[in-house]
Amino acid sequence: MTASIPTNQTILVVGGGISGMTAALEAAECGKEVILVEKTPTLGGRTAQLYRYFPKMCHPTCGLEINEKRLRGNPRIRVMTMTEVTAVAGRRGDYKVNLKVSPRYVTAACTACGDCGKAVSAEVPDAFNYGLAKVKAAYLPHPMAYPQRYVIDPSIVGTPDGEAAKAACKAGAVDLGMQEETAEISVGAIVWATGWRPFDANKIQPYGYDRIANVITSVEFERLADPHGPTGGKLLRPSDGKEARNVAFIQCAGSRDENYLRHCSRICCMASLKQTQYVREAYGEGENGAKSTVYYIDIRAIDRFEDFYAKVWQDPTVSFVKSKVARIAENKENGNPVLHGVNTEGYHRYATEHDLVVLAVGMEPEVTGVKLPEDVIQDSSNFIEGSRDGGMFGAGAASSPLDVNRAVQSATAASLRAIQVIRKTASTEAA
């Protein structure tokens, strides 16, 4: 790699999801030097794990492909995967950042042919599918992975499986002696695009996510619907592999709740409305067709999404119950979850069985529980607002619960602010 040495004219972008990629690209395309660090082995983040986008129902692969092409063609961005920020010192225009690079055990010589994966027998939980499936311990994170380079799980290093992977590689790209590395870099501005994670559904005790097999989360449902997912795109429920035709969606699973997440996660209403359409597409209308029920406090389909909501409202396969579900029990005979609560429109008590329950889990900042540099300002939900010295910025879902479209807008805005910091630093030094 012939990247230049980072200086205080460089912008550091932390996180390689859709927001981080956008912030890095926008800055680089304005002529700035950028380092883009990502904790996992691939860029793309949670966007790559979605099956379709709302409201157009198009596939994320399309946008990712465009961004990956922009990245490949831009010499100003240096992408570092499996890299974490461990410390930040200094101030606006002059930060010293410590990085930790975990070993991938596969070098840039990898051609992604897949021979190592075939040679290995051990399997590890597939993070791309939220652990719903297993993957070989030498794997490509997902079909759209960037870089297109295999990863060897540390668990097989030093075992015969590791040696088998090395022996199978025709390109000589497997390096089992790779060690963790550290680096210190200088940068002028930092964009935190650290993203979000689904709220831990186990904490919502009355919903039984930890005890009832057929209670899953919305992100897991995305994986079920995806042809690259563990069921090949079929909506099969976990307990017995039966087709899930009668699906309940529970809104505000963790969000808008002083006991869990204080904020409205904003995307979940639209995500569930979108997912009702997956059920419809799979089973169609009719007696034994799709049946989706959305349990909600109020539907928050913001601005132009109202049209999508109106369309789903007309859909005969979808019904709405205005109620925060009180608890979920399990019918032991057929494995069906039974929802208990009160429909507040008329105050009707219900106990309704469904094939599958999808919890529309809220967005929690990925940095929750992580100690950020002291100067970073976070709100009461841990979203990043910026920094006191004005040299660090939150972008995308790290800054607020945002959908992909708004995350990209937010990242572009953060990128512009970072560019301003760099320009100011440059003009001060010139004077």
Binding site: E258, I297, K324, R349
Partner: protein, 207 residues
């Protein structure tokens, strides 16, 4: 209708929400309810009472004063705290229920003969008299509240438990003759009177 009730009606006119906010314990939380219904669904007594908490809160906002205050709904609360634990806005629902019950009782609107109310009254009357609850007199009053015949039946049904308590030294039959009191009976009564005076002043309750 009591004087206190007439005075309350005159003072708050049709603004029942304001009345609840000012005069009911924790009543200021009522407007925070977002009508999700999780309290109603979580209540173990749910199917047995007329109005669920979130419905009561909506009725308060809608100004349904008479219906709320004469309802027996809040008297059905057993203080299991399921609703408080699950409320996404952390409303102290159990406490509001008790606050409403207490307020309706003071106004003289609470349903007559409602068992929870009867027990609460017996308990309170016993307590303020001597500073101690006379358990023997309290239980007997409970048994006989629905008449003499029913009282004998109740007492007979419970005699095994009663004898067990006597044997274990937990119940003294001599308490029937007046019972023991705390050391400074007058002091306790003064304290309660003062507390009531403060409460009345703070909530603007007169008559």
């Amino acid at each position: 209708m009591s004087d206190m009730n007439t005075q309350a009606v005159a003072r708050y006119r049709n603004n029942f929400l304001k009345e609840v906010e000012e005069r009911v314990e924790d009543g200021h939380w009522v407007r925070m309810c977002m009508q999700c219904g999780v309290c109603a669904g979580s209540c173990p007594l749910g199917p047995h009472w007329e109005h669920s908490p979130q419905k009561i809160f909506m009725m308060i906002r809608a100004g349904k004063r008479e219906e709320v205050l004469t309802s027996d709904a809040m008297w059905m609360c057993t203080s299991c705290y399921n609703c408080i634990v699950r409320c996404p806005r952390k409303l102290p629902i159990t406490h509001i229920m008790h606050g409403l019950a207490h307020y309706s009782h003071r106004l003289g609107l609470a349903p007559k003969g409602q068992p929870t109310r009867e027990i609460a009254k017996l308990f309170w009357d016993s307590l303020v008299k001597t500073g101690r609850v006379n358990e023997l007199k309290f239980s007997l009053a409970m048994y006989f509240k629905d008449g003499f015949g029913q009282g004998i039946k109740n007492a007979m049904a419970m005699q095994g438990v009663g004898l067990g308590l006597v044997k274990a030294g937990r119940l003294n039959p001599m308490e029937i003759l007046g019972g023991h009191a705390c050391k400074d009976k007058g002091g306790i009564q003064k304290m309660i009177a003062k507390a009531q005076e403060i409460e009345n002043r703070k909530k603007g309750l007169t008559a």
